[in-house]
Subunit: 409 residues, 2 copies
């Protein structure tokens, strides 16, 4: 008789975005004239850069001709793209071998699948609030214990990041085996300086910990001294895996391309003391359970890393960052405490005293017809905050600012 | 200290195709004038059908325009494609709810990832010889035991399919929990009639077994009474998950699109007796660890399911099947025993008496400059056989036939 993986059943239904959708729908039904502007979901709105469009048309034409048609590609990605990514890293002083770069259909897949390489017995630490995939993909393999009424998993190590500690994660009282870090951070939009991140690398080196570093938003960094890659820090290649994506950088959320860097120096032991190399294990995982990303998509990704591609993607990023910057000023102008929004497309708003994430979400919806995301949806330490994004259209951003003007909190 | 998943280290390096490549390279170096024709790897050679090319150009243009741009799509796939697939099933009398269809970047991913839903404690059965992904993805989670010197995994149930049993799998002496079936079969190219497959469905119903049914090659079926889908058989929706792909049907090996059908009736219990529904679990798995297939790719796939798309993909299939049919006759003409090749793009050749898979592979390479795949690379019961494919170009197929003529075995 088959035995299912019962840990899946420990996952509570993920209601956040469907909950939001339901509330918005209900409000809209009761107030059909309300002109609702959505700044909740982190999806891009601008079309793809021209270089990517051109590259895809060209690649599609290649697929129409027997002489240039491409069938199965290497599961790890074509060399042309891995080479372009390696050169991109070189611009930041990071030297990678192309065998350390693995192309995929997106960071979410890789972040989820990477835990295939870990035994069930690992203590996982996450920043709180957090991107839910880090937790859920570990719950599925029994690494998080049970979900309690306090909104916490019994066996997960939470590292609270709130205004109280300036959103700088402290080392937890219990040393974890694996820690997820995401900088620039989703959902708070905050960053770590090179010194602050270096402390985490040193901590990982000292305690022999794996850092799973999500840098999906590195393109939004505008300030100096904020590392774009964890490998800008000495020793990180002995402890860290880095996950990156073209989704937000180049508007690829519907095109699907990401990549993961797994340095060759990552050696760790199994339950019985046998040493394994994470680079070789990930390669084996991907060649066995993945068949590579579409050729057409890889050509589009490559195009965004040319000089012209960089110029065009920078324009996209600037557009969203301009939105964020305007929103930030506007929110501060009406007396709200806001965080993030300088090196990330997200603003983290502290709700006024006496309010909760959900109550302020409701007020913003009903009084200003603006959809945000309640911070508590990202974890217990997100209570008391709201996330809004700069991914809307510029015109909508201006309308939001106009609505916020003179809002009596 | 992190603990890696040591089961990964149980996997022997997969040498088959690199072994073949090395031998071919060596021969080529020693015999630079040799004009080598490759019929080893199962990759398509014809360009994409025009409908798919046109659909992709159109979709790329949509991505260039803010009004038609698509960001994140549903992880399970766009409704337009799931609807088109449901209609495709309807043509064979199979009624599926579109929520039972999950679009992916290919069957290999889904076949590998589906075992996320299973506890480690499941006895897995495979047909021998077999597509190696079924085994390797289970080895990674400790379900297969150790690899022995006899080329067998200690905890895996092998169901030999050879000429001795007409390639019809018998029920194993020990009842498994999960069985992988692939029909039309890779590598043998053989099929099961509706009656033969019905017995397996009944067996699964009787013993409460999950069938993971790989029908990646269904488009190559030419004879009547061979089921294209396991759901053509009564009761299969209570026991079977079906994996399908556009790779071989429509030449999508480099485009990447597949789909998996997980019926809503699939309820099984976990270790502690809690019942889970595989459809809901797979949905949760995919929404958590996958971000959907590229919009452009889904439009291309949809196009192949239109009337014009069917006509064009049928032409591709006919082209390869014509190759196979010519090869089959030619091989029989020189006195070889051959199997498959009537409803699948693969021919399974029994090597002459006194030869092994590898020795006959070498002879074919050295005497006729033809690259095949040694059957033993697909499992112990593949010893004594060679696989060749119809996926080459027609012109090359004719040259192969010419070379085989009057070959003294």
């Amino acid at each position: 008789m088959p035995v299912i993986n019962e840990f899946f059943l420990d996952l509570p239904e993920n209601y956040l975005f469907s909950d939001i959708a339901k509330r918005v729908k209900k409000y809209k039904e009761e107030n059909p004239e309300a002109d609702i502007i959505r700044l909740g979901i982190g999806d891009v709105t601008l079309p793809l850069p021209k270089v990517a469009i051109d590259a895809m048309h060209k690649a599609v034409d290649e697929m129409a001709n027997a002489d240039t048609f491409r069938g199965y590609g290497p599961e790890q990605g074509y060399e042309f793209l891995r080479q372009a990514i390696a050169e991109d890293y070189k611009r930041r002083g990071v030297n990678l071998d192309i065998d350390e770069i693995f192309i995929s259909d997106g960071s979410k897949s890789d972040l989820g699948n990477f835990t295939d390489l870990l035994d069930r017995d690992n203590r996982i630490a996450i920043i709180d609030p957090v991107y839910p995939v880090y937790i859920d993909s570990n719950v599925m393999f029994g690494r998080c214990g049970k979900f309690g009424e306090d909104g916490r998993w019994s066996n997960l190590i939470y590292i609270p990041c709130t205004a109280d500690n300036d959103f700088i994660p402290d080392f937890p009282s219990e040393v974890p085996d694996v820690v997820y870090l995401c900088y620039p951070n989703n959902p708070t939009g905050t960053v770590l300086t090179k010194e602050q991140l270096s402390k985490w690398v040193d901590y990982a080196l000292e305690h022999n910990i794996i850092i799973l570093f999500d840098s999906a938003y590195e393109a939004f960094i505008s300030e100096d001294n904020i590392p774009h890659s964890i490998y800008e820090i000495e020793g990180a290649d002995k402890v860290a895996v880095e996950f990156r994506s073209f989704s937000k950088t180049a508007g690829f959320t519907g095109v699907r391309c990401g990549y993961t860097v797994v340095p060759k120096k990552l050696n760790f032991k199994g339950k019985n003391g046998v040493e394994g190399n994470l680079n070789r294990m990930w390669c084996r995982r991907q060649t066995t359970k993945f068949n590579g990303t579409a050729y057409i998509v890889q050509r589009a990704a490559e195009a965004t890393l040319t000089d012209e591609g960089r110029r065009e993607t920078k324009e996209l990023v600037n557009y969203y960052m301009n939105n964020v910057s305007l929103l930030r000023k506007s929110l501060q102008g009406i007396g709200l405490e806001v965080y993030g929004g300088c090196n990330a497309p997200y603003i983290w708003i502290r709700v006024p005293k006496g309010e909760t994430s959900w109550s302020f979400f409701e007020r913003m919806l009903k009084e200003k017809h603006i959809v945000s995301t309640p911070g508590v949806g990202f974890g217990p330490s997100g209570e008391g905050y709201l996330r809004i994004t700069g991914f809307g259209k510029y015109e909508d951003t201006l309308r939001v600012i106009d609505r916020l003007k003179n809002w009596k909190l």
